[in-house]
C-alpha cells in the first residue's frame, strides 16, 4: 500500500495538482492580505474622522465647566469598551469614563468607574487642550479586529474546498493516467518478452498525446513483428537452400561408399568426408536452433515441466555412457517435486549439453553430479525460494577469465580443441536459460566447473 502511494506520489498529474494548489493558495493569501490592509486603513481613517468630529463637538462648549458637564453626560451613555472620554480640568479634576495615564511605557487608559484596571484591547486616541484642560477622546479598535477575524474566515471558506477539489481531482487524474500508461507499459513488457503480436489497446477516451504514443507503439511493434518474420523467413530459406546441397553431398558420399573397396585409404577418405558433412549439418542445426530460441517464440508453448523427472531421465540416459568412459554420474533430487513453466525438450537439451560437457572435458575417474534443489532468492525473512539446477564436475574447470567467453557462439578453449564439440553447446544452454527467464552461472567447483541454472 505504501509502495503504491509512493508510486502515485511520483506521478506527474498529482505533482501538477499540488503545484497548482500551492500557487492558488499563495495568490489567494496575497490578495486577501492586500484587501485586508486596504480595508483596515480606511476603517482607521473613518474612526479618526469620527474622533476629530467628537473633538470638534466639544470645542463648541463655551467654558471648561461646560466641557466637563458634557463629557460627564456623554460618558454615562457610553460603553467604555467601545469609546472612552476624559477631561482633566485646569484645576486637575478628572471627568469622564476613563483617564489617560502616562508612564515610561506610554499612555494607558485607566478606568474611573466600575472595575479597576486597564481596559482590554487597543484604542485610537485624540487629545487636545480645551479651555486650559486636557480633553481625550478614544475609540476601540475592536471593529478592526473583528474585520481581521472575518477575513481569516473568508480565507478558510474559500481556500479549503479549492484545495480539496484540486487534490482529489489530481489523485483521480493521476490514477487514470497511471492506468492508461500501464496499458502501454504492459504491451512493452509483452513485446520485450518475445510476444511480438502484443499491441496496446487504445481507449478512445485517452488524451491525444497518449493515443498518439499508443498508436506509434503499435506501429513500431507491427514493423518489428514484420521484420522478425521476414528474418525468420530468410533464415529458413537459407537453411533450406544450404541444407539441400549438404544433403546432396551426403547422398554422393553414400553412393561413393558403395563402390569403394571395404578396406583401404579410399574408404577412409570417404568416411572422413561423411563425418565432416555430419559435423557441418550439426553446426547448422545448432545455429538454427539458437536463432529460434533467441527469437523467444518457444515461449508460446511453455507448459509446466517437472524438473525432478527430467533430471532423473537425463541422468539415466547418460549414466551408462559415463560408466563406459570410466566416470561417475550421480543425481541428487529434492524430496518435493519442483517444476517450472518451460519447454521440456529445450530444458532437456540444456541439461544434456551440460552433462555432455561434464563428461567430455574431464579425465577418467571424474565425478559429474546433477543436483536439483530449492534455493532461497532475495533476502529478508519472507524471501521466496526458486528451483536451481546444478551440474558440477571435478575436472580441469574453466579459467575465470574464460567463463564469459565460453558462452559465446563457436568459442572453444585452447585446451578443448582436440575434444569433440562445436563450441555451440554452452551458447545454446545460455540461450535456453535466458528464454526461461533464468540465469546461468559458471563458477569454480574447486576443482572443476559448476554450472548453475537459477530459475
Amino acid at each position: 500500500m505504501s509502495g503504491r502511494m509512493a508510486r502515485l506520489w511520483r506521478s506527474m498529474p498529482l505533482r501538477l495538482a499540488l503545484l497548482l494548489v500551492m500557487l492558488f493558495s499563495t495568490v489567494s493569501l496575497l490578495s486577501l492580505a492586500a484587501s485586508y490592509a486596504v480595508t483596515q486603513a480606511s476603517f482607521e481613517q473613518a474612526i479618526r474622522a469620527d474622533l476629530a468630529q467628537d473633538m470638534a463637538g466639544f470645542r463648541a462648549a463655551p467654558s471648561a465647566r461646560a466641557v466637563a458637564f458634557l463629557v460627564e453626560a456623554e460618558s454615562r451613555a457610553t460603553d467604555p469598551n467601545r469609546s472612552i472620554l476624559s477631561y482633566v480640568t485646569p484645576g486637575g479634576v478628572v471627568y469622564g469614563n476613563g483617564a489617560i495615564a502616562r508612564d515610561d511605557e506610554g499612555y494607558h487608559i485607566i478606568t474611573l468607574r466600575d472595575a479597576p484596571g486597564d481596559y482590554a484591547g487597543d484604542y485610537l486616541t485624540l487629545t487636545d487642550t480645551l479651555h486650559g484642560g486636557l480633553l481625550t477622546v478614544a475609540r476601540s479598535r475592536a471593529e478592526i479586529e473583528a474585520l481581521r477575524a472575518g477575513f481569516v474566515n473568508i480565507l478558510w471558506i474559500s481556500l479549503l474546498p479549492t484545495i480539496l477539489i484540486a487534490l482529489s481531482g489530481g489523485l483521480v487524474i493521476a490514477r487514470r493516467s497511471k492506468r492508461d500508461v500501464e496499458v502501454i507499459g504492459r504491451t512493452l513488457d509483452s513485446l520485450t518478452a518475445g510476444d511480438l503480436s502484443a499491441r496496446a489497446r487504445i481507449d478512445p477516451r485517452w488524451s491525444d498525446d497518449l493515443r498518439s504514443i499508443g498508436g506509434k507503439l503499435n506501429l513500431m511493434a507491427g514493423a518489428q513483428q514484420h521484420s522478425v518474420e521476414a528474418l525468420r523467413q530468410v533464415s529458413s530459406d537459407i537453411a533450406h537452400d544450404l541444407k539441400t546441397p549438404i544433403q546432396r553431398v551426403a547422398v554422393h558420399l553414400d553412393d561413393l561408399e558403395r563402390v569403394v573397396p571395404p578396406e583401404g585409404e579410399t574408404r577412409e577418405l570417404v568416411e572422413r568426408a561423411q563425418a565432416e558433412v555430419n559435423g557441418i549439418a550439426t553446426v547448422f542445426q545448432s545455429l538454427l536452433q539458437l536463432a529460434q530460441v533467441d527469437s523467444g517464440s518457444p515461449r508460446q508453448r511453455f507448459a509446466p515441466v517437472d524438473l525432478n523427472t527430467l533430471c532423473a531421465t537425463m541422468a539415466e540416459v547418460y549414466e551408462p555412457a559415463a560408466q563406459a568412459a570410466g566416470k561417475t554420474l550421480t543425481l541428487h533430487l529434492p524430496d518435493e517435486v519442483l517444476s517450472v513453466e518451460g519447454d521440456r525438450a529445450l530444458l532437456g537439451q540444456a541439461l544434456a549439453n551440460l552433462i555432455e560437457n561434464g563428461l567430455r572435458h574431464t579425465p577418467e575417474g571424474a565425478q559429474v553430479e546433477v543436483t536439483l534443489e530449492l534455493q532461497p532468492e532475495g533476502s529478508g525473512p519472507d524471501r521466496a525460494t526458486a528451483p536451481q539446477l546444478v551440474v558440477a564436475d571435478d575436472g580441469p574447470g574453466i579459467p575465470e577469465a574464460e567463463r564469459d567467453k565460453v558462452l559465446r557462439r563457436l568459442y572453444r578453449l585452447d585446451s578443448s580443441r582436440n575434444t569433440p564439440g562445436n563450441g555451440l553447446g554452452l551458447a545454446l544452454v545460455d540461450s535456453i536459460v535466458k528464454l526461461h527467464g533464468a540465469e546461468l552461472r559458471l563458477t569454480d567447483n574447486s576443482p572443476g566447473l559448476r554450472a548453475e541454472i537459477r530459475f
Partner: protein, 223 residues
C-alpha cells in the same frame, strides 16, 4: 510396399527412390506438389514421403488438402528446418513423422517401415518372443533359455520396444523418442551404451546374439 516420394531435388529424390527400391518397395517419384497431390489421391500407397518445400503446392498445404479429403495414408515429412515449431507445424498439417535434412538413408528407411506397420494390435499380446527369449508383460519377467534375466525398468522398456518391432530396424533417435520421450540429438553415444548393457544381460551369457547392429542405421532384434 507401395510408396510415393514427393521431392523436388533430383539428387535427393532419386537417392531416396533408389534406396527404397533396393529394399524391395515399389516407389513412385514426383517432383512437384501438384503432381504429388494428383498421384496421392488417384492411387493407394502404404506411405508417403513428402518434402516441405515444393514447387506449385508446398508440402504443408498438400498434406492438409489430402487429410481434408479423408486420405489417412501415413506420411513422413522431410524438412530442412528442424525447429520445434516446424515439427509441430508439420504434425498439425497431418504428418505422422518428421525427418530433418540432411538425413542418413537408414533413418529414413527405418521411419518409413515404422509408419507402414503402425496400426498393429499392440495390446493383445502379453508374451513377446524371439528365439529362446521370452518377455512376460504381465509378470514383467524376462527369461532366455529358461533362465530368468533381471532387467532395470528402462532396460525392460527398451527390450519391449525392440521385441514389439521384431525384425525391424530401430534408429538411435527413434529409440530415444519412444523409450525416453526425448527428441534431441545427443553428441555422446548414449543409446549405444544402453544397448550394450542390455546385450550384456540378454546376449552375452548365451551363444547367439539376438540384438543386431545395422550399420549406419540402428538396431533390431531378430531370432
Amino acid at each position: 510396399m507401395k510408396l510415393l516420394v514427393i521431392e523436388d531435388d533430383a539428387t535427393t529424390g532419386n537417392y531416396i527412390a533408389r534406396g527404397l527400391r533396393e529394399e524391395g518397395h515399389v516407389v513412385d517419384l514426383v517432383t512437384d506438389g501438384r503432381q504429388g497431390l494428383i498421384q496421392a489421391t488417384g492411387n493407394t500407397y502404404d506411405v508417403l514421403v513428402v518434402d516441405r518445400m515444393l514447387p506449385e503446392i508446398d508440402g504443408l498445404t498438400l498434406l492438409k488438402t489430402l487429410r481434408g479429403t479423408g486420405n489417412l495414408t501415413p506420411a513422413l515429412f522431410l524438412t530442412a528446418m528442424g525447429s520445434v515449431e516446424d515439427r509441430i507445424g508439420g504434425l498439425n498439417a497431418g504428418a505422422d513423422d518428421y525427418l530433418v535434412k540432411p538425413f542418413a538413408f537408414g533413418e529414413l528407411s527405418a521411419r518409413v517401415a515404422a509408419l507402414a506397420r503402425r496400426p498393429q494390435a499392440l495390446d493383445q499380446e502379453t508374451v513377446l518372443r524371439v528365439a529362446d527369449l521370452e518377455m512376460d508383460l504381465l509378470a514383467r519377467k524376462v527369461t532366455r533359455a529358461g533362465q530368468e534375466i533381471d532387467l532395470l525398468p528402462r532396460e525392460f522398456a527398451l527390450l519391449e520396444h525392440l521385441l514389439r518391432r521384431k525384425g525391424r530396424v530401430q534408429t538411435r533417435t527413434m529409440l530415444l523418442e519412444s523409450v525416453w520421450d526425448l527428441s534431441f540429438d545427443p553428441m555422446t553415444n548414449v543409446v549405444e551404451t544402453h544397448i550394450s548393457r542390455l546385450r550384456s544381460k540378454i546376449d552375452r551369457p548365451f551363444d547367439r546374439e539376438l540384438i543386431q547392429t545395422v550399420r549406419g542405421a540402428g538396431y533390431r532384434i531378430d531370432g
